[in-house]
Subunit: 144 residues, 2 copies
Amino acid sequence: MNNGEYKTRQKQAILDFLKNNMDNHVTVNDISEYLEKNNCRVGVTTIYRYIDKLLEQGLVRKYTVDNSTSACFQYVGSTQECHEHFHLKCEACGKLIHLDCSHISELCSHIFKDHGFKTDMRRTVFYGICSACADKRKIAGGSI
Amino acid sequence: MNNGEYKTRQKQAILDFLKNNMDNHVTVNDISEYLEKNNCRVGVTTIYRYIDKLLEQGLVRKYTVDNSTSACFQYVGSTQECHEHFHLKCEACGKLIHLDCSHISELCSHIFKDHGFKTDMRRTVFYGICSACADKRKIAGGSI
DNA sequence: TTGCGTGCAAAGGTTTTGCATGGCA
DNA sequence: TGCCATGCAAAACCTTTGCACGCAA
């Protein structure tokens, strides 16, 4: 850690779990259950408090997924890393896709110049269906 | 209403309030308080249940605004109306801006063709700061 | 030793559920 | 009359807070 923060096994365990799930959102409950199974029990209070800090540092994002009542979190690494990224989230499998695409920066400039709106790409997420899930649905014959 | 649903003064009152606030998100509490002041008391249970139906019909959207613990809802009209729209949400004032812009459809086609991701524009919202709020902040000397 | 971190228990909210009653069609 | 809708109370959750104890530095 850095400024006056202590390093503890709890923080380490939470961070490890988050990093191992960068491609998916997790709830506090997910974290708690996983750690419990791995003989590394951590109180939910601690999880909430630590996640708050990570949120402030911009290392984690908070989402609300439609059908879930509790908040979802996702490790996105340092703000700089993802500053220019563009996030796509598959509503079927929950996967978060990081996309580096010049088209998006162009679009943002356009929105700013022509519509006066300053988009915050760190918060904006495109929802939809990823190709893998689209294929599955086709095979299953289901509709969107 | 339609398929087996009854029309009641409660539903009407909730819907009216939502429609009068299309430019802003409201919480269940906001609705409840407003209706109470207007001598039109409706139980929160009813509000939650009715909003659930509206969500299913796609007439209302659910958001979670960062500093609020409760969910925010916003009437967006019929799905068809907003199908081709593109939504910008100001994080400072909560205003929802409906934008009709060809650039966005182009971007979506690009994402689909080159990245295999089928974006659902009905769910996707761009977060940022609207021009009015950006101006206010400049005057106030605050940073983003 | 100092001061941050942790976890329990309790509090504070929000949202959901069960059930009897009310009201539309 | 037959159903759906409503509202109360209670339950079920999620998240935060207070406080005493634990532990990193």
